[in-house]
C-alpha cells in the first residue's frame, strides 16, 4: 500500500486518495479535433520506471497532487502541486 506524503495533511494511506492517471497528458484546446481528444483520453504509455501521475486527496484536503512514482518499486520521488515543474530522477529507483 502506498503511503503518500500529502503536503497539506501529512503522510496518509493510499485509500484516502483517488488515482487520476497520467499527469503529463494535457487536455487539448477546446476547438481541437476528435483525434486530439481521443489521444488525450485513451492513449497511455505503460512505462517501467518513473511515472508522473495525478492523485486527488478525496478523503482529506481534496487537493490535487502530482506524484512522481516508480512503477516497479513504488518509490515516490516527489509529491508536487499541480503547477510545479517535474524533474525526473536520473538514478534508478531504490528497490
Amino acid at each position: 500500500m502506498l503511503r503518500i506524503r500529502c503536503p497539506w495533511c501529512g503522510e496518509r494511506d493510499e485509500v484516502e486518495f483517488r488515482y487520476r492517471g497520467d499527469a503529463t497528458k494535457l487536455r487539448p484546446a477546446g476547438d481541437a479535433d476528435l483525434a486530439a481528444f481521443a489521444a488525450y483520453l485513451y492513449e497511455r504509455d505503460n512505462p517501467l520506471g518513473w511515472h508522473v501521475e495525478w492523485w486527488l486527496h478525496v478523503a482529506g484536503c481534496r487537493q490535487l497532487l502530482k506524484l512522481v512514482r516508480h512503477t516497479l518499486s513504488h518509490e515516490i520521488h516527489a509529491v508536487l502541486a499541480p503547477s510545479d515543474e517535474v524533474s525526473l530522477p536520473t538514478a534508478e529507483a531504490r528497490r
Binding site: M1, L2, L34, L41, W54, V58, R95
Partner: protein, 979 residues
Amino acid sequence: MRGPARIARGLLTDAQRPLRFRFDGRDLEGLAGDTLASALLANGQQLIGRSFKYHRPRGVVTAGAGEPCGLVDLLGAAGREPNQLATTLPLRDGLVAESQNRWPSLAFDVFALNDRLSRLLPAGFYYKTFMSPAWAWERLYEPLIRRAAGLGRLEAVVGDHADPAETVHDHGDVLVVGAGVAGLAAAQQLGSCGLRVLLADQDVALGAGPLLEPRWDAWRAATLASLARLPNVRSLASTTVLGAYGHGVFGALETLSAEESRRFGGLRERLRIIRVRRVILASGAAERLIAFPGNDVPGVMLAGAALAYLRRYGVAVGRQPAFFVNNDEAYEALFALAAAGIRSPGVVDPRTESWAMTRARALGIEMHAGAVVSAVGGRCAVRTVTVADLGGAHRATLPADCLLMSGGHTPLIALATQLGAPGQWQEAIAAFTAALAPATGRVARAAHGVFGWAAAARDGAAAARAVAAELGLDAEPLSALCMPADAETTPLAAIWEVRAPGKAFVDLQNDVTAADVRLACREGYEHLEHMKRYTTHGMATDQGRTGGLTGAAVLAAARAVPVSAVGALKPRPFAQPIPFAALAGGEVREHYRPKRRLPLHDWHETAGASFVSAGLWLRPLVYSRTPGWEAVLEEARAVRSAVGITDVSTLGKIDVQGPDAARLLDFVYANTFSTLAIGRARYGIMLREDGLLFDDGTTTRLGPDHFLVTTTTANAGPVLEHLEFHLQSVWRQLDVLLTDVTDQWAQFALAGPRSREVLAAVIPGLDLSNEGFPFMAAAAADIAGVPGRVFRISFSGELAYEIAVPAVHALTAWLAILAAGHSLGIRPYGLDALNLLRIEKGHVTGAELNGNTTADDLGMRRMLKPRGDFIGRALAGRAGLVAPDRLQLVGVRAIDSAQRLRNGTQLVAPADRTRSLGYITSSSPSVEHPGWVGLALVAGGRARIGGRLVGLAPAHGETTELEIVSAHHVDPENTRVRA
C-alpha cells in the same frame, strides 16, 4: 508426566496443569503449554492424517507454522473448522480434533488405493484425464475428485456464528520481525536509542531460538528483562507478520491465548496493520527436508522439530531416532536427545568429516559418513532405515522408530521478496538470501546467511545500528551481555534428493514427488513458477516452507543448471492461512459499511417508514410496513390530486463560489450557465470526456459569483471529484472554490396542485404567484422562521417546490409544512412513490444515466451548447455515439393493463424474437394510467413510438405485448409545473 513419550520437563509446559482432549474419538491427556501436536506425540500418536492425493499415512514433520502434514479438523460449538495446524494450535481443556482426508478411519483408509494407482495419477492428471465429455466434469469428475482428494471439510462455521475478530492499527519507527537472538538484540539496541519498536514473533514465547539451548538461558532472560523496561518497545508474541505491502505497511495476525480470549469477549484473532518507517527482518530460516524414498512415513521429521519437542514440551519423538543430516546445526537434536538418555541407532551424513561428526563419535554414536538414506521401512510408522553409500550400494539397515532429517536451512526471505528484494544464491548455505534497500530496512541473521547464535546477536545489533543511523540517530553498541561462544561448525554439503526406488516427496502437503517435478520439466514446464502450477508444488497452507527449495533443486538438476539459475518460488502474502473472519475484523453485518441517516430519520421511522439502502443512505421507501403497492399508490395519488412532501436531502449539493464560477460551470455542463439570471435555477447535464452522460441536476444562481449545484444522490461524491480534478488540473487559472454542502442542508420536495397553498402558509412574505415566483425561480426565504431557500422545481411533473433548510432545523420546517398542509390532505411520500411519479413524467435517473447513454439517447441533444468548449464536446460527436440505431429513451405500457412490467425485460420485435432491441430500465404501477408504466431504451426508439414490441422476461416466464409511447406518460406539454 502425561503421556508415555514425555521424558523431561518442557520449558513451555506446566506439569501441574493436565488438560483433557479428544483425538479421533480417543480421550487423551496433555499439559497446559502443549500444542495439539506435542500432546499427541507425548501420547505416542505419530500418525495424524492422510495425505492430499495418495492418502498415505502422515505424521507431524515440524514443530511450527511451516507444518505440511499436521492438519486437523477442530470440532467446536460453532461447528467444524478444517485445516487447523496441530503444531501451533495451543492445547486447551476439552479440545476435540479429528484427522482429515480418511474414510472410514485413519488407520484404514479406502482411498489409500490412490497410492497403488499412482501411475495413473501423475502431475497435471486433472488436465490430462478428465477432458471429455464436457458435461461430465461438473456432474461426475469434480464431485469424485473432491471426495477423494483435498484436505479438511468445510462446514458452515461462518456468518452469525463466527467468533468476533478485530483490526487494530499499530504505528512505530521500526518493526522487528522475528524475536530470535538477532531480533531480540536488534529490538534492545533500537529501544535503547529511544525509537518506537514493534517486535513481532509467531511463536508463543519470545526468544524461541535460544529457548532451545540451556546455555543461552541467562542471555535470554536478561535481554527480555531489559526489553520489558523499555516502554517504547512493544513485544508481540503469537503474532505472524503475514505480508509486506511496501511503504512500511505490514499485515500481521495475532492469535490470542485462551486467557486473553476470555478477557476480550471470545476474540480469537487480531489483525494488526502495522505502519513503520523501517523494518528489520530477523525471521530466521526453515529447516528443509531431503527427498528420499519414504521421507513421508510418520516418524520421519525434521531434526530441529525433534529438538523443539524435547526442549519445549519434554517430549521424545522416538526412542530409537535415526538421523539423516547434512549440516552441523542439525546435530544439536542428536546431542540433546542423547543427554536426555535417548540413544540414536545411527547418524547418516553425506559428508565425510565435520566438527559435529567428531563430537558425535566422541559420544559413541554410530556414524555413517559419506552415506545417504535410500529407503524407510514401515508404512504407518518407521521400523527400519536403509543406508547406502553415495554410489547407491547398500551399506546397512538400522532399526529405528523415527528418522530425523535435515537438508540444511532455508532463510525465510518471503517478506524481503515481497518488498522487491531479489534472492541471492549463497553457496555456503545452499540457499537464497536477500538484502533490503536502506530506505526500507535491513535483514539480519539467517536472511543474509549468518548462522550461530552469538553471531546472530551481533548481526541483529549491527542491523539495528544501521537502521538507527538511517533514521538520524547515533546508536552506541550496547555492552555485551554474557554470550556463550558458538561451537565451531563445518559447512553443509548440499544434498537435495536420493535417487532410489519409491516415492520421494518434495512437497508433503500436496503429495508432489521429485519424479513429478521431472515430469513437469519433461512436459515443458521448465520455469519454476510453471512447474509450481503444474504440480502444485509449494502451494497451500505451508507454502512449501520445508521442501520448496528442494523442489527447485530437483528441477535445476532436471534442467542441468545450478539451483541459482532456477531461483526460488516467490511467496506471496499470506505467510500463513488467515481466517476470513480475521480479515473482516469488525466490519461485518450492520457494521459492514457505515450508514448515512437523514436529518429526519427518526421522524420517518416514527411515521412508519420502511427504509431502503441507497448507497450508504437509508431512505424512506414508503410510509407503510405492509408489503404491496397500495400504500405507494396512495402516496402518489395524494401528490397528483392534492399535495405530498418527500425528503430529498440525499441529493448532492455543491456550493460554487468565485469570480469564475460561471465559466467553470460552462465547462463542466453541456449546457450554458453563465446566462442564468440570479434567482433562477436551470436543469443541467454533465458529460464525461468520452461524450457519454455523467450526471444531471438543477443548478441555481444565488448571486453573481455564487451557484448551488445539485447532483444525483449516487453521484454526489464523483461529481465533486470530477469538478475538483478539472478545476485543479485543466482550468487552474479559474478562481473558484467548491464546497460540499450535502450534509449541511436538508431538502424537501413539496409537490402537487395544492403545494402553493401549503407553501404560502409557511412562507408568508414571498409572492408565490406565477409572475412573482415562476417555474425555475429560486429565492432565500424564512420557512416557519428558519432561514432557508425555496426553489420552484419539479421532479414529479406537478406544480412543485423544493425547500432547503439547515439540517439542524429540518424538523422545525418539516413539521410546519405538514401542519400547514394538514387540512389539504398532505402526505409524506417515499422513494417508491417518488420513482412512480418521475417514471410517469419521463424523468431519468441512475437506471437511464447508466454510463452507456448519450444526451441524444435520452432526448436531450438540444441541450448541448453549439459553441464553446465543455467536457465531452469533442467525443460526443463520434460516429458511434450519434448512430440512428442507438438505444433511445421511450415509454412503454402493456397492451393488457393487467400485466405487470419488469426492469430488465428484453424487448423484441413480434416477428423476430431472437434479437433484443432494447430493455426496460424503469417501471412502476401507475396512478395516471391503468396498470404499469415503464421507461425503456430501444434501438431507434423514437421512430418506433406508436408501434408495438414484445417484452420477454424468461426468468419469470413472462411475455408481454407492449406499446411504445413517449417517455412522458403524463402532461407532455408541461403545463402542470407551470400552473
